[in-house]
Symmetry: none
DNA sequence: AATGAATGAGCTTTCATTCAT
DNA sequence: TATGAATGAAAGCTCATTCAT
């Protein structure tokens, strides 16, 4: 298994840094190789091509991201608490790794459509987690029964994603995590005064 | 005024089509010129460089998009109706111009950070429209008084954007506009059963 | 006769200025047209192509240059005085027109070999003047009888040319004309202490 | 050290030939690469850009040229003999390498002002050699004591340069080296019959 | 005679990928 | 495994020249 080889991880970490620092289009393979401390050719012993590095970066990082969230919400008692925990962890994990935040919110979106499909595949488990929370909430009678799950998922993910992107674009000048509570309220209560 | 010159518009229209069909990075200037029926050099009489074409495409198209919405919501009586109208028009306008939808939701996001800043500038008036609807809703007592406007704006825009992107990525196999009602309800009522 | 038309001269004068200011390779036809106050296309009513402008500039300016010298030396009594007058006028005329000096000493040399042949043709009358001075000096018994005329011509022209080029490259920080006497002595007396 | 790498020299030699045959402006990088038997991209492993090839050609070739002359005149007994040796070697070295002669006398002069400055720097040691010969001749009492050294240098270099240029432009139809004696006499004795 | 919008050929340079060592 | 020198395809942009008005 490639993943246990040290160079594989060296290259992944180097790629995140190089892309965050230079942007996607200025991230030449040779730059990543240099930062990783390996020869250009060595990259191709571990990755099929440049795109494969990108996909792998996303798989590795997003895998951890999702695993962390999945585990954490298991301890929560109901859908509401689980949603809140998800929001908090989504924000806190990206807050802690600014390089990764820049890469996921800005640079990775510059890739071509084929790569986008791959990225969506990696994202799928995360979206499934959201779906299951919504479903659970409906079952528990906490959320309205008539919810269109894919639509709700798009609202939740779209809101979180947009919020993080804004924070990255504002150069992280405020505390993202402080917005978790309000975002949760907005999603659950909506705009209307009841 | 350049904008009245027919070639300017020919090139804009050709660019939208070429980018939608081939993707941003496979859209050579020569391809755009050919589709527009002009010489390569002619492009540079109307646009500073390739990036300028992209920016101009977005300015032109988004300008119309925003103007249309701004006018339409003026006739509505309250914030709720205005928000609904905005959602409907956001969806219907992109539904009617699939090329444009592909460009705005996928291809334009592949651009570099400088271009992203430009794009954000163009988007600003739209975000301001959303803000003013929220503010009006609070004043009218329709929306909760304590709303954090930037956050609400991110929820609304994030939700619409994610919904359209999903529709584009699913290759527009369903009617986007049919989701307007539900999206509106989700945004205003939230998830919670009250 | 084209030469009497005002636009012809406007373009010639504009070309000298533009080339002196921007250098040969940054002197686009459109820049010359703009400085001359005519349309790009108008240039081609008076000149066959860009190279023809260059050649004409040289013909016009060098023609005056040579005529002036030819006339002036007629009043001199012997070859020695004629040579001195030639040196003085060569230096003084280029001193008075720094734009022209830059063009003849630096920019015109950047042209291609075909143009160089043309330039040599224009220069021929000047070289002939030098030849005749040398011949006269030999006949008068002032110069040595055994002189190889082409070689002497190359020494005289080469020395003057190199001297002017150095002065231009040193950004004309000293008085070129003050060197006329010494140059004349060097050419006639040589280096040797007799 | 790059200079020992065979490809570096292959490219330099190819550049001299291609420029001599096609002229500076018709010497595409791809043509030089082909003649050198390397890929286009390889050029850029050894040279910063096209201009850098030119500068390097001049540095390499002129360096050898100057070294050769500097060494040879050390064995000569006085300034007069040294000057004669310099003239002979200046002529003979360019005679032996017609490609180089074309490049130095014609093509290199087509370059832009920045490159010209570089060329002047490379030439400086040669001019210094000339200066020191003149100075020595004055000290030895062979040359007149009152000589203006920069001016003498301009006469000597200007004469040699013009002589070589004429020979190149006449397509080398005569033996340049046969003129060395006469040129030396002209420079030392001048025109005047004493 | 004059205009100037339009043309389109032409070239340097980058960089992902390969392969001999 | 690992290296890194070498490859070569690919594309944005300029500008001399033309020609319809």
């Amino acid at each position: 298994m490639k993943k246990n080889k040290p160079k594989y991880n060296q290259i992944i970490e180097a790629a995140v840094e190089v892309i965050a620092e230079n942007g996607y289009h200025a991230s030449q393979v040779s730059k990543i190789a240099k930062k990783a401390g390996v020869a250009d050719g060595t990259i191709y012993l571990y990755f099929k091509n440049k795109e494969d590095i990108l996909i792998s970066v996303f798989e590795e990082k997003m895998g951890q991201f999702i695993n962390h969230i999945t585990e954490a919400i298991q301890n929560k008692n109901n859908a509401n608490e689980k949603l809140y925990e998800l929001i908090q962890l989504h924000f806190s994990q990206l807050s802690k790794d600014p390089h990764l935040a820049v890469v996921t919110q800005l640079e990775l979106r510059q890739s071509n459509p084929e790569l986008r499909l791959e990225i969506n595949n990696v994202l799928k488990p995360y979206l499934t987690v959201i779906d299951s929370i919504v479903q659970e909430g409906m079952k528990e009678g906490i959320f309205r029964n008539s919810l269109n799950i894919p639509l709700v998922r798009q609202m939740i993910f779209g809101t979180l994603d947009e919020t993080v992107t804004n924070w990255v674009m504002k150069e992280r000048k405020y505390q993202l995590i402080e917005q978790a509570k309000e975002v949760h309220t907005l999603l659950t209560e909506g705009l209307t005064l009841s």
